[in-house]
């Protein structure tokens, strides 16, 4: 041993980086500042700052005569927000978000349940990828594709005709409030596409919550004499519920703020996102657009605080 000792320097060579490293090591607060500074500049200053200017903007108002935005505090814009026409838009959007959330949880549950309970490791990997792909990719393209699918001359109509049941489709489309001239210009079509688009956001947290239900709990229930059906309703479902709530945060929030889907498939009745888009664009009423946007923020804050109480964030 002693023969090799001479070849190893006790310390690495001194250098600028070494001294800088020591300088920082002795000042942990400075390291923290350097690490957090840049992300906080974007998210804390620019992003949160922008959210604050959104609030500020909602208290400005548009002068009807000059068409100029008046930059002084006023509740005029909020008064405008709560006119019957705008309230109808809000009510329409929130009901749609609720309907979509319910439909998504019903559709997502069997997939999540299968993934968490029955799928082999390989099948599970495949299923996860199958759910993740539409979640991360080409949202716009898939919405556009539904325009082709639901069109009057598209595949859904063709399907109904092929089986000679176009009467069913026509009957659906004549229903008040949800019907329209074709599926591609009706609230029903919007509902289908919203449900489709946010479905992966619902599947993943439910699957995560179900995977956390230990097999032993289910077996214990079985051993105590519960029939499989009873175990499902009394044990599995309640334990999966935080996952449903976590998923609903996305389906609800994303529906409230979307203008692409109603813009692509809707008729003349606006949804919240479209109203925001129109007011900030053509009519130049940015204050009203901002005030409209405050609604999904408030709704989501209420929703999140409720969800937090139900433990939904553990399933994210």
């Amino acid at each position: 041993m002693a023969t090799t000792t001479s070849h190893v320097p006790a310390q690495p060579p001194d250098s600028f980086w070494r001294r800088l490293s020591t300088f920082l090591y002795q000042r942990p607060w400075l390291i923290l500042l350097l690490l957090l500074g840049p992300p906080l500049l974007l998210l804390g200053v620019v992003y949160l700052g922008s959210l604050i200017t959104l609030l500020i903007n909602s208290f400005f108002y548009l002068d009807g005569f000059t068409g100029q935005i008046v930059r002084s505090f006023s509740l005029r814009t909020y008064a405008e927000l709560f006119t019957p026409a705008n309230l109808e838009i809000i009510q329409r959007t929130v009901s749609m978000a609720a309907a979509v959330t319910i439909a998504d949880s019903l559709l997502a549950f069997p997939v999540a349940y299968f993934m968490a309970r029955f799928a082999s490791t390989r099948a599970k990997t495949g299923l996860y990828l199958a759910v993740l792909l539409p979640l991360w990719s080409s949202y716009l393209v898939r919405v556009y594709s539904w325009k082709l699918i639901l069109a009057q001359e598209g595949i859904v109509s063709w399907f109904f005709h092929f089986f000679g049941i176009q009467g069913v489709l026509d009957a659906l489309l004549t229903l008040p409030r949800i019907g329209g001239t074709s599926l591609s210009v009706s609230p029903l079509g919007i509902f289908i596409v919203f449900t489709y688009t946010w479905l992966p956001y619902m599947i993943l947290p439910i699957a995560a919550a179900l995977e956390r239900v230990p097999q032993s709990v289910i077996e214990a229930s079985g051993d105590l004499g519960a029939r499989p059906g009873t175990t499902f309703w009394r044990i599995t479902l309640p334990l999966a519920f935080p996952g449903v709530v976590a998923g609903s945060i996305f389906s609800f929030s994303l529906t409230l703020g979307d203008f692409i889907i109603p813009g692509t498939l809707g008729n003349s009745s606006y949804y919240l996102g479209q109203a925001v888009l129109a007011h900030q664009g053509t009519s130049g009423n940015l204050p009203l657009a901002a005030a409209f946007t405050v609604i999904p923020i408030v709704v989501m804050l209420l929703y999140l605080s409720g969800a937090k109480r139900l433990g939904a964030f553990d399933a994210l």
Partner: protein, 265 residues
Amino acid sequence: MHSESQRAPWLLKLATAAVIVFLHFPAVIIILYAFTTDDRTFTFPPPGLTLQWFGVALQRSDMWEAFGLSLRVAVIATGAALILGTLAASAVHRSKFFGREAISFLVILPIALPGIVTGIALRSAMSLGNIPFSFLTIIIGHATFCVVTVYNNVIARYRRTGKSQVEASMDLGATSFQTFRFVVLPNIATALLAGGMLAFALSFDEVIVTTFTAGQQMTLPIWIFSQLTRPRQRPVTNVVAVFVLLITFIPIIIAHRLTQDTSAE
């Protein structure tokens, strides 16, 4: 008795299969329509199939301009997300500081809130500060919601790695910088790649936030959206849509592979 833990009821299998088909069916349809000979309506089944629209799409300079802009935006936004996401994850992982929980919340906020909130907020700030629309305003918008993908991947990797490797490196004589270079970076490399891929996919087809920060500039998704309302050669839009589909699919599959490989270790 324990059938629940072994074999799935056939009804459950059927429901799962149906939902998976439902999720992927639109992608199949859009690919089919890229080959249709019908350029006026969306007739199903297509009256005939042709490859001509691919050639036509390649000739469209407006499409190429939009594609170029989207690519530049996605690359730069991904780069920004990689740097900012890694910095934030490192800060949260290495020290307990006041407001640590708030950082995670702040990072997730831009994708948890509807895109329209981010969009109109940035638009309000621009209006209040008299900032004109520019390439930079698009990048800032995209960077806000891309940071989370990198942050989540990196912090998950940090949690799995444990702190003793970093201590061992410094114990053996390496400075903080050398430790990052030789130990931390190789450890988080695949997490960075996975996070970066997801960020790229998110940015490349983002349309909502971009609508508020782009002004007259056209990214590829905005180009597609404009074609929906003012169609000119419908099948060309279909071809471009297929193209976007592929460009976002590939990075996601790569990202998925990367996270699978390391968790299987």
